[in-house]
């Protein structure tokens, strides 16, 4: 990977980053605003997208300086994803900043980075990554989507499933098979032979599409046959950012639960004074503390800090632990709330949906628990 050395924010800078993103989201993206944004044509608040990109530079955080970014690492970007998760903000943040940007970085293709990263960093370009096919699982080889040379360029034929933000992205990075092996390609939104179908989704804050390619013009990214390594790298980095987002979502759920448990009175007492409820909250807190530690440690490891664990191990652990923790906490949040938590109006289901969908995005428990063992050499 040809990523240049990254710089790091100090503890105060990290706190400033966290509080400025939190402050903006608190005013511009409370739960009411989230619902309003979901009802717009884009399905997310495009003005907020631009403010986060331009006023706070969130999109640029982990993009190298020569590609229009700030040059920080996953530690810093993870803080921003934590806040996006906390506020359950809809929009193609994960697709563009976590998946596509990391695919371009991992490709080592300087031309492609020069072409696409500045737009992702500024928020002008919405990009995503298309990997999953009919099998329904993240894969790094054996794609049935095929690419064949077409003059100086390539053309793609095949079908991709479960592409996050695939219907509206300006730039699609697509894994496809060539005679040399799995390879990565860029396809622009206006390309011929491209059919994109938005799907009804479990997580209503994260759009998903099916994309069909019929001799669609495409540009090779990185070396032909190099996509397996790129996708391995993307998986490790994207799941680490997802872990940060999951911890943020879980913390928001716990805050909702604790606030409610302190205010809601039944049998003449605040329900939080009952151990049955108090201990649920304590279990949620414990799960979050452990998950937070795992997410931070994975980001640290990938950022190359001294005294860090093996990055592949830390990332696999973070993905497993944070996925399990968020799902547990989001489910218990509804139980703490009782009936009100089961209503459409209450935000709990936004987190519940996000938690299950995020848990399954890269294969789900069977896959990620196996990945933990593999990373440990078991």
């Amino acid at each position: 990977m040809s990523t240049p050395a990254i710089s790091h924010a100090g503890a105060h800078e990290l706190d400033d980053l966290r509080s400025s993103v939190r402050a903006l989201l608190a005013t511009a993206s409370d739960h009411e605003a989230v619902r309003a944004a979901l009802d717009t044509e884009a399905g997310y608040d495009t003005a907020l997208w631009n403010r986060l990109a331009q006023e706070l530079g969130v999109h640029a955080l982990a993009i190298p300086e020569q590609s229009g970014g700030v040059g920080f690492g996953l530690t810093e970007l993870g803080v921003a994803f934590g806040e996006l998760g906390r506020a359950v903000v809809p929009g193609p943040y994960f697709s563009s900043i976590a998946l596509a940007a990391n695919a371009l970085l991992a490709s080592g293709d300087v031309d492609a980075q020069d072409t696409h990263l500045p737009g992702i960093a500024s928020g002008e370009t919405v990009a995503t990554l298309a990997v999953i096919e009919d099998a329904g699982n993240w894969q790094t080889d054996g794609f049935s989507t095929s690419a064949s040379p077409n003059g100086s360029n390539w053309s793609l034929t095949g079908r991709k499933l479960l592409v996050t933000d695939g219907a509206d992205a300006d730039l699609l990075l697509v894994a496809a098979q060539t005679p040399a092996g799995p390879s990565l390609f860029a396809v622009t939104a206006d390309a011929a032979g491209l059919t994109r179908t938005a799907l009804i989704t479990l997580d209503i804050t994260r759009a998903v599409a099916t994309i069909e390619f019929d001799t669609t013009p495409a540009t090779l990214i990185g070396a032909e046959g190099s996509a397996s390594g790129i996708l391995d790298d993307v998986l490790v980095r994207a799941t680490t950012l997802l872990a940060g987002e999951q911890v943020g979502g879980a913390r928001a759920c716990l805050e909702l639960s604790v606030d409610y448990a302190r205010e809601r009175v039944q049998f003449g007492r605040a329900i939080g004074s009952f151990q049955a409820i108090k201990h649920k909250c304590a279990d949620m807190f414990a799960a979050i503390e452990v998950a937070d530690a795992a997410a931070r440690e994975a980001a640290r490891a990938l950022d190359g800090f001294e005294d860090s664990p093996e990055p592949a191990v830390a990332a696999a652990v973070a993905h497993a632990v944070c996925s399990d923790a968020f799902m547990f906490v989001a489910a218990e949040t509804i139980q703490v709330h009782g009936g009100i938590g089961f209503t459409w109006e209450h935000p709990a289901h936004l987190y519940f949906r996000r938690a299950k969908s995020s848990q399954l995005l890269f294969g789900g428990p069977a896959v990620y628990h196996e990945r933990v063992l593999t990373a440990h050499g078991i």
């Binding site: 716990l254 604790v258 448990a261 302190r262 007492r269 605040a270 939080g272 004074s273 009952f274 151990q275 409820i277 108090k278 201990h279 909250c281 304590a282 279990d283 807190f285 414990a286 503390e289 452990v290 998950a291 530690a293 795992a294 931070r296 440690e297 005294d307 664990p309 191990v313 830390a314 696999a316 652990v317 973070a318 497993a320 632990v321 399990d324 428990p365 069977a366 990620y368 628990h369 196996e370 990945r371 933990v372 063992l373 440990h376 050499g377 078991i378």
Partner: protein
Amino acid sequence: MTEDIEDFVGRVRAFLDEHASRRETDAVGVWGQGKDHTGYFTDDPSDVEKAKVDAARAWQRTRYENGFGWITGPAEFGGNGLTTTHDLMYDLIESEYDVPDTGVLSLIGLGMIGPTILAHAREDIKQRYLPAMYSGEVIACQLFSEPAAGSDLAGVQTKAVRDGDIWRVNGQKVWTSVAQHSQIGMALCRTDPDQPKHKGITAFLVDMSAPGVDVRPLRQMSGGAEFNEVFLTDVEVPDDHRLGEVDGGWAVGMTTLMNERASVSGESDGPVTRAQKPEFLGGLLRATGHQSDAAARAKLGALVADLTAAKYMGTQSLRRMKAGSQPGPEASVGKLRWAQNLTRIAHLATDLVGPKAMADTGEWGTYSWNELLLSSPAFRILGGTEEIMKNILGERVLGLPKEPSSDSRTPFNELRRSGNPS
């Protein structure tokens, strides 16, 4: 001026290089190697146990003579006047060396009771006991829990009645670690049963060799007897051995317990540490023929993820402590997870071993998992039960309201007590 950490580290290494050798750690975690033990509780014959206690005392004496006996303690009582960060660095460095385990002295006495004596005893009592404790001569135990006062420690019933310059103590304590090796014990006693429970307690230092002190081993379900019952019958305690004010013992006891939380979640080297290592559990999976068993792999994968994440939490806590900050709520979370994870290991391991865990066939790494299995119920009880830890997290960290109750306002002798319904 506090000694610079780097200078201190250099001094510690020089001391340890002179008095000890490096620990061999390469084989730790390799399946099939080393002692076939998984247990938390030991079950040594008494001569072996006595030799271990003697070695612990001797090593503590060596530390003391070289200026590392009580790193955070004040100089007038034999301490070295440094910070908790220095203390932590000493422990971290010493863990690289092969030295006697001093837990018998340090976990209760030096870690918890020493700081309590320093905070609450008379000057002459501090002079009498603190240097003796930190030089390895005096071992101290904690006479807190009683048959009817477990999680509700403020319900102690052991009575102390004043008679001039002495107090006469009668009652029964239980779950007393190291009482059989101790010269002194710190007891919480009921001195005014007409006050609400927290307000009628006084703390004392009891001479364990005094007439009327009867220490009896308490055999636990794992087979060994690491704890004791201590019966106190007309034991005379001089008033100068009182800690804090008369009826002010609850606050004194809290000083002791505040020093407990940090030490219980600490990890010691031993069979339980090895049992938590992913490579060791991977060895178990292979040895039991479950390498390709999807159900077993899914369970082990989830467990290894949680174990590794808990380790990361500990690493981060240590990093913050090295930077000088005190442990936060994660100390309670660490204890909860430690107990839960070890319990999961115990059951998964015995399930993977299968019928060979039922009887000792002599095969390495099979029947021995029962040591961990039979230790495991204690993990969720000792050092604060799971329920109490969750109350602490819920109330002190999350700010949830306490359970309404009248027992902290009602005079103690009017409360309903176990075995004494009213």
